[in-house]
Amino acid sequence: MKTVPARAARPIPVKNRNLVTVRNLRRYFPIREGALQRVVGHVRAVDGVSFDVRRGETVGVVGESGCGKTTLGRCINGLLPPTDGGVYFDLGDDEHARLDALTAMPSEARTREQAAELERLDRTHRVDRLRGEAWRSYRRNCQVVFQDAFSSLNPRQLVKDIVGRPLKVYREASGSELMERVVGLLESVGLGRQHLYRYPHQFSGGQRQRISIARALALDPDFIVLDEPTSALDVSVQAQILNLLNDLQRERGLTYLFISHDLGVVRHMSDRIVVMYVGEIVEAGTRDDVFNSPLHPYTEALLEASPELAHDTDRRAGALEGRVPDPARPPQGCRFHTRCPVVTPSCGFEVDDAVRMLEGRGAGLDHLRGVQRRSAFEADLSFDDEEFAGLMVRVLEGPETPAEMREAMIGLTRSGSTVAIRFRDIDRVRLEEIRPAHVTSCILHTGQGLDPGDRHMREKNGG
């Protein structure tokens, strides 16, 4: 997969240009605790994601496991209702523009007419609001192929029943006509009539994935979510399936959302790339822009981590260190600041970072009695005794603490055994267009909240 063949340009059918429009999508999962199952917090699997998928293209979604890409796919498939925002299917060009205008403003700023207009758009295009005929039409046009070819086929059904089921549900065919259509579908994925009367367990992983694809194609959909469709396969089989998907796309004018953690595969498949980190998009753009001139340090680190793609070895970004943050308590500011190799004082340093730092300094946490937060950026840390509190202040002021964190600290005072610590307040970062159709949220590029005093950092990092 080292050589990337040029993708043939596909003719765009004269239909709505935007097939899937994701706007401010949030999906939180409640964390329950105790006998009464009280909700004590939320895992923010998808936390404010917006992007478009245009007809006929493939949008690749990449990120480490746990970044919310699968949840995003499930929301788009209608398997999970969104907590906030939504997924809109097949908006007309005018409607798309209206939706953008309406969702860009805060909800309290909308006039009554505008709210009614948004409600009308929601009712006719937002997938979790669709009912009746509109829902059926969306269902037929939006299909899915899952990663696990073993769990995605019912082990008690024959192949003819698995592939023919969508046609039966919509009463498209029955009897021998149904069977002929199933055979046709099987043939289009490289299987045949001889496989009709077999059970899934009689097939290899690659063949099973072909059966899944045939089922997804049965209703002749416009759009298919491919959720890591080749991650569980051998490399040689992987290439066959990817080529099959490409061929099918060309023949049938399909639109794909391709979810994967494998950058090589995503590069092979996608026209445009969306990079996700802890529930947010950190960068998005065309395949060539994202791979050849990545803007966000996280994207660089991902590229760095896949050896065959690390094209520019003198790039500063090292391998990814540290853990992915807990999506129930995502970091402030830029969510990547806890692991970022080119972090600045304006990236969102917070109390959690200081606590984690002290934790790393051995005995720190044993002596930490409690953390009294006033905000994410301001808290009182109380320790066992004065001596220890003094020691911690010296650690936080000293060279053991990264210079960027020290600079972000605008208050550090000790009174008795309590240390009051305060960081700069940093807003959540926003995506901005840096180059045409190439967006990122990294403040080194957007300049959002970047302290003029930090300018030297920006130059140093070649941003």
Binding site: R74, N77, G78, L79, R136, R139, R140, C142, Q143, V144, F146, D148, F150, S151, S152, L153, N154, P155, R156, Q157, L158, K160, D161, R165, P166, V169, Y170, G175, S176, M179, E180, R193, Q194, L196, Y197, R198, Y199, H201, S212, R215, L219
Partner: protein, 306 residues
């Protein structure tokens, strides 16, 4: 290629049925390859055969063949007596007649109890597992209450309250045994509904009922089949225990009743009236346990070969 010929509509059905039958037969063949299971199956076939052929093997008692016949001229005859091959009871009842018609009683008891409890258990467990949430909470708390009482004691209590009759034994056993199935099927359903093929069916747009019937239930049912086989034996065992302590009508051609009525004579050397029916209870329970274990080995998903 044979397949190239376009089969008629009926042809597809027949072919699918043949494939399914072959799969079923291969599971059956695998089960029977285990010698202890084969022994169990042999015993079951013999006992069920005896139950079905009861009117042929013995002259049915009139008016009610399920009552022991009384031969007042032959009390406490030992085994080997002409006309009374296994001897008679203190009331002049033929032990062989009791064994043969007792197998009918047992078969009736276990079939009714198991089918009723499987049906209730599967419905309750499926609702709890598939719907989840409040429904699950409520149903499972009820199940917990039932499970917290030992089954023999519970059945005893119910049967005692309802009064001594064979019908009430059936009721009591049914009230006790359904809980296990609810538990089993709920766990299975919760596990199975997380499979991607369930989500795939939702994405296709199939109805919840269809998804339950086609995807969830068929993949959840095997442990129930195993448990039901084991319970075919257990029901008779506990049923016999209940009749032994006098919760069935006296004079009923039932193994537990025979053991109970014969035990008084054991000290006087009249061992046969209790021993033969007791042996039947033992064989019945043993046979279904052997087959149940064999089924578990073959059907258990953890040992299932892909």
């Amino acid at each position: 290629m044979l397949d190239a010929a376009r089969p008629r509509v009926g042809g597809h059905r027949v072919r699918a049925a043949a494939v399914r039958l072959r799969r079923f037969a291969s599971v059956g063949g695998e089960v029977l390859r285990n010698p202890t299971t084969l022994a169990g199956v042999t015993i079951i076939v013999a006992m069920v055969g005896m139950a079905l052929l009861a009117p042929v093997l013995t002259e049915p008692n009139v008016p009610d063949p399920y009552q022991m016949p009384r031969d007042w001229g032959a009390l406490n005859e030992p085994p080997g007596t002409p006309d009374h091959l296994l001897g008679t009871t203190q009331h002049g009842g033929d032990v062989l007649y009791g064994i043969i018609w007792g197998s009918r009683t047992s078969l009736r008891l276990s079939l009714i109890v198991v089918s009723v409890t499987v049906a209730i258990g599967v419905i309750v467990g499926s609702l709890a597992g598939f719907l989840g949430g409040r429904v699950d909470e409520v149903l499972m708390r009820i199940v917990d209450v039932f499970l917290s009482i030992p089954e023999l004691i519970f059945a005893l209590a119910i049967a005692a309250v309802l009064g001594p009759s064979f019908g009430n034994i059936i009721l009591a056993l049914a009230a006790v045994f359904w809980v296990k199935y609810a538990r089993i099927i709920r766990g299975q359903v919760i596990h199975v509904k997380q499979n991607d093929y369930v989500d795939a069916a939702r994405v296709i747009g199939d109805s919840r009922l269809n998804i339950f019937v086609k995807d969830v239930l068929p993949n959840s049912i095997t442990p129930v089949a195993v448990q039901a086989t084991l319970d075919m034996g257990n029901v008779v065992l506990i049923g016999a225990a209940l009749s032994f302590i006098g919760l069935a009508e006296a004079g009923l051609a039932e193994w537990g009743v025979l053991v109970s009525q014969g035990q008084a004579g054991i000290s006087a050397g009249r061992w046969w009236a209790s021993t033969f029916p007791g042996l039947m209870v033992f064989l019945w329970a043993l046979a279904f346990n052997l087959v149940g274990d064999g089924l578990r080995d073959v059907l258990d998903p953890r040992t299932e070969r892909r």
